[in-house]
């Protein structure tokens, strides 16, 4: 498996650390307990396209949003997390 880092280019999976669903980018407002519960614990588990956060740990240190297909293992897009949260 290879991930095309927007900064470094096409790199081996060994250089990356997987965090989890890109939902982590959408932190709810403080005090809204239901929203925080959902944010922390409720996840889709799709057979298909999903968006995850990966860290180019042994590379440029960027956080990336990787859109991939869990059925076909295709990677559709890789975006800098900083561009997504803007």
């Amino acid at each position: 498996m290879r991930i095309n880092c927007p900064i470094c280019g096409d790199r081996d999976r060994r250089e990356f650390y997987y965090l989890g669903a890109s939902d982590y980018l959408n932190r709810p407002a403080e005090g809204d307990l239901d929203a925080i519960h959902t944010y922390l614990h409720i996840r889709e588990n799709p057979a298909g396209v999903t968006k995850d956060l990966w860290h180019h740990e042994a590379g440029c240190s960027s956080w990336l949003v990787v859109e991939r297909n869990t059925s076909t293992h295709e990677i559709h897009s890789v975006t800098l997390a900083s561009e997504v949260t803007k």
Partner: protein, 177 residues
């Protein structure tokens, strides 16, 4: 004041020559990490003070004995000079790294076994942050081989890993077809 003797990271371990390859340690150099603050332009000030400006992503710039390597997103290493005051986070990392050069005909085969980079795509002066075995490393393609920098504490492990592979690659090359 007591005059302490500087000991390099791979002191007593290098150089080694195995088959067509040599692994040598580079002498201790002054090293600073420079992470420009958001939106700050520091290249011109650096160039004025050290003779070298910031390189592009994945590259290094050098002049005389001074060099700047791109080492991560928004981070550079200035080697061989003291940085001026800049709008950047600067940390002195002299003595915190071990730098070695692997040279010789079979050096690419050795690197291919320990490093996941597409080394064939790297040209002279290209810089990448990647892995050597399980160690994070900075890898610079030089005219005569690969310069590898790892944290100083990994010096012994780095030499051990590279030695093993140098022996193995050399032994394999000597086998009859």
């Amino acid at each position: 004041m007591i005059d302490l003797i500087a000991k390099s990271a791979a002191d007593g371990l290098l150089p080694v020559t195995i088959g067509s390859m040599t692994l040598t340690e580079l002498p201790l150099r002054e090293m600073h990490s420079i992470a420009p603050f958001k939106g700050a332009k520091v290249s011109a000030a650096l160039k004025k003070a050290t003779g070298v400006g910031l390189p592009d992503v994945g590259r290094g710039t050098a002049k005389g004995g001074v060099e700047i390597l791109w080492t991560a997103r928004g981070q550079y290493f200035l080697i061989g000079a003291t940085p001026p005051k800049l709008s950047a986070a600067i940390t002195d990392q002299s003595d915190a790294w071990c730098a070695v050069v692997l040279s010789g005909e079979s050096a690419p085969q050795v690197m291919a076994r320990v490093c996941p980079l597409d080394l064939g795509r790297m040209g002279e002066g290209d810089v990448a942050r990647s892995l050597v075995g399980h160690m994070t490393a900075i890898i610079v393609k030089r005219a005569d081989g690969f310069e590898i920098l790892v944290f100083r504490a990994f010096a012994k492990t780095l030499v051990h890993e590279l030695r093993e592979v140098m022996v193995s690659v050399t032994a394999q090359a000597a086998l009859p077809d």
